[in-house]
């Protein structure tokens, strides 16, 4: 079937990650913290994860996300780059992150 697609996303610097429509990053006003709403689950990402996820708009690629974080925190790009990719890969493996596709319209 044409609609079947692989769920395996391999995150690299060229990836343009985005949350799939069923994973929603939202500020929970009652509990005063960010949550990811997913099928029958509520995840509680930490502050760094939230900051990275807010940059996952399907337009920026991972390289640009790393650049932006390295500049903001005056950090060594190589060091945080590996952490960012590992975190995004973990979320992708759990199905809470996908990749924006080229001109699918």
């Amino acid at each position: 079937m044409a609609t079947l697609r692989s769920r395996h996303v391999t995150v690299s610097e060229a990836s343009r990650p985005v949350l799939p429509r069923h994973a929603k990053l939202r500020f929970d006003e009652t509990r005063h913290r960010w949550v990811i709403l997913a099928p029958e689950r509520v995840l509680a990402p930490d502050d760094i994860a939230v900051e990275i996820l807010q940059l996952c708009d399907g337009v920026r690629n991972v390289a640009a996300i790393i650049d932006s974080l390295a500049a903001k925190y005056v950090a060594v790009r190589e060091l945080i780059g590996a952490d960012v990719i590992a975190m995004l890969q973990d979320l992708a493996d759990k199905g809470f992150l996908t990749e924006a596709r080229e001109n699918t319209a």
């Binding site: 069923h22 929970d28 509990r31 949550v35 099928p39 509680a44």
Partner: protein
Amino acid sequence: MSPILTDPPPLAADPSDGVAILEQRGSTAETFGIPLAVLAELTHRCPLQCPYCSNPLELERASSELTTAEWKKVLSELAEIGVLQIHFSGGEPTARKDLVELVQHASDVGLYSNLITSAVLLTRDRLAALAEAGLCHVQISFQGNEPVVADRVAGLKDAHRKKIEVAHWTRELDLPLTVNAVMHRQNLHQLGDIIEMAVELDADRLEVANVQYYGWALKNRAALMPTLQQIEDTTAIVEAAQKRLKGILAIDYVIPDYYALRPKKCMGGWGRQFFNISPTGKVLPCHAAETITGLDFESVRGNHSIAWIWQNSEAFNRYRGTGWMPEPCQSCDYKEIDFGGCRCQAFALTGDAGNTDPACALSPLHEQIFKLAETEASGDTSRFIYRNFSGGTPEPDDAQDA
């Protein structure tokens, strides 16, 4: 003693458990804070007649169901007090003509919506309308991996084919899909094929849920109870599939607790992190809670807010926390791990919801329950009593060989 089928649950909270993390931070979602998710049983009407249905034996009629306006008010109130997710369930939620409107309202007030459905009433247009209204996730129940067994269990011809069709539409519409497979003695031999079916359907998640014995399932226990051998085989099949399908299909597994050593942490503990709303608006600590006689449940149609009912009503506080516990629970190291198991099961099997769940090896009744399960599993009862509004109908004589 019964064999050890499950390891004792870990004493530390699972770090991926959102509830645990939120509770650690001492936020308002701490113990007895408003649940993150609520189950809305929109109706008890259902075209299927599954003999293990979790609805009460006394089903609510359509005329007494909450109206569209009442459900909308409930959804708004839930969002306002901090509920994040709503599960639209039943009965069959798509039997409600206003489902698209209710899903849209859930989206409008910011609730993440899950649809828990038998799928047989859905058309592609209606599913597309639900997606358009903001539905976030679809869970479809399956009774087997092929029509002969599946349609017999469901008590509805052509049900299986229809479910497969709707599962394809779900993925075509880019909605995440959970396959829910309710397992028992008469379909456990299909588990391997059901796992393959879930992969072929491009499901995200598979719930392998052994029947839990309340309500209709309790009535049909002798026809449903698996053998110990089946459970051991099942556990091996599930564990192998979980490894093999990592990253492709997540598999959740619920064992039948008559064969367990420790009871399940039912509902995460009574009145601790879950409630559901019945078709007529009763606010219940679990969907089987009405099987416990002698408890009065408040309704959203009464004078109290949902938050008040959750925090203050007698039914929620009766078995909340650990203060109500008798021995052997009271001095048990696991009392805040499993909260004494399941109140409905304690009531069904001992006549007192305040007793230790006999699924626990420390219950004086555990041995007896275990033997009962073994005896029923090896018995020759295979005829179902189908769930319906007239108190149940025995399966015709010639149908069981199907």
